[in-house]
Symmetry: C2
């Protein structure tokens, strides 16, 4: 019995393309042999910053004992500075920039890349930073559902000028396995909960310290408390589109974010660089452990 | 009679901050002397790509005959890889990434930076690439109004879970002066018109070549033609928030984008790298000419 899950690309027009130029990744089916380059990818790991993705792939190279012959792994998208991409064995690490619009371009292109490469059984995990609500800074949140600013697990996208609503549940099995990994690692607190995905970092997340703010501290606290009561553990800016696009393309999607601060206490990120760097490594450690475990299980 | 226009920061809470940490720029009032570093800034120029901003500042250094003593100008935000920032005399060049969420963080932080630096009479110009509608590729569009997916000059933002509508007119005087500069340069076609600002590059701009597409080619063409008839000259992903935030902070805002393709004919960007690079230099040339003219006028 085959349990291979292929990538689903819900776009009938793609078949008509003679070649597919992935402009923002500086890759294309006419210029690159996708199955040879990417056919073995099983894990797509993504985070905002290019340098963090580079650090993650070095970490995975070590963790999976993949020799890179003492060389630095190259940035596969070096011909552009929009996104950075690295590969170590079955792990592809891609940066996504900031916000849903930025990550959506990368996701469209990477999903097509996986499809053209005939990849199977792919898991996609966003590893990021976030603002926590009622959690000790440094807590890692595994997202159950991405929710909108009204705390609903929905993403409204505009297609040809009209709203389309998409569901934003993340993959339940992957989330449970990641939580299990958190227990095994036992190095930091890992919680399962909902993540609010906003379009704006300041007004969208009820901060008082942006260039523009028209509400009071009381309004802010009421909103954050309402979010907390609705099960929101943290806020970031990409989870909803990760969930929506993974659901539509048959990819198991997960979001793992560390909280850099507790938004019930503060707006500005003021921890020292050392502490922030250690926090930022936590999602990478959790995901690294998860990937190693998945690979060992198949041996 | 003084005609100095100061930066307006519509946020009463800012006064209460002891220091302001601009986390995403790796700058702060507690660690950097903003008035000394940025007090003379009159032009903020922004574009998606960090390397394009670096190229632009080199170009401006030459154009304004500002000596950098043979050294490369440093990236002022080198401690982070979220955004890159360069300065040459009165010109600040900052990268903004892709999409409104990404540019909004930079704009919040740069507006606060200008405010803390006590800058006056600032003009902010986004220079970018875009998809043209009914225009020869390579045409430069100076934006009159940024419009939404229903072709209205409005931006809906979500603040504390509730919609807030903001106006998205760009500064009329700056647009007229930029058009005048286009005539003087006489190197490429420059047009004045409306720019549609979308959250998504594929479905949001009626492309048929994303990973997900649920409409027909006819639907696509009807939508693009309706946009064209409504005065939309091009589509990109940042103009609306530039307009809204400049309007709220008393900064003269402008958007100058080159079109890389004519969306009535194609979806994919397939021009050669050389041609694309020459196109991408056009907004920089126009803005460079504009800045030089403004400075010469004051002498």
């Amino acid at each position: 019995m085959s349990t291979e899950t292929t990538i689903h690309v819900p776009n009938p027009h793609l078949e008509k393309l003679k070649e597919d130029a992935l402009y923002h990744l500086a890759l294309g089916t006419g210029t690159h042999n996708f199955p040879a380059m990417f056919g073995d990818v099983k894990f797509v790991c993504t985070g905002g910053s290019p340098s963090r993705m580079k650090a993650f792939i070095s970490y995975m190279t070590m963790k999976l004992a993949i020799s890179s012959l003492g060389c630095e792994l190259p940035n596969i998208c070096a011909a552009t500075d929009r996104y950075a991409m690295y590969k170590a064995g079955p792990v592809l690490a891609v940066s996504h920039g900031i916000g849903m619009s930025s990550i959506a371009i990368m996701l469209h292109d990477v999903i097509k890349l996986l499809y053209h490469s005939k990849c199977t059984n792919v898991i996609l995990i966003r590893m990021g930073t976030s603002g926590g609500i009622g959690l000790e800074p440094g807590t890692v949140v595994v997202t159950r559902q991405a929710v909108n600013a009204s705390f609903k697990p929905e993403l409204k996208q505009i297609v040809l000028g009209k709203p389309v609503i998409r569901k934003t549940d993340l993959d339940e099995k992957t989330a449970a396995e990641l939580m299990e990994c958190g227990k095994e690692l036992h190095q930091f607190n890992t919680v399962l909960g909902n993540t609010m995905c906003t379009l704006d970092f300041y007004e969208g997340q009820a901060r008082l310290d942006g260039a523009i703010c028209s509400y009071t501290e009381e309004d802010k606290m009421n909103y954050l408390k309402a979010a907390n009561e609705a099960g929101v553990k943290n806020m970031e800016m990409e989870s909803a589109i990760v969930a929506a696009m993974c659901n539509l393309s048959g990819i198991r999607g997960a979001v793992v974010c560390v909280t850099l601060l507790n938004r019930l206490h503060e707006d500005q990120i003021t921890s020292s660089q050392d502490i922030l760097e250690e926090y930022e490594e936590r999602p990478q450690k959790l995901v690294g452990h998860f990937i190693k475990k998945c690979i060992d299980k198949k041996k």
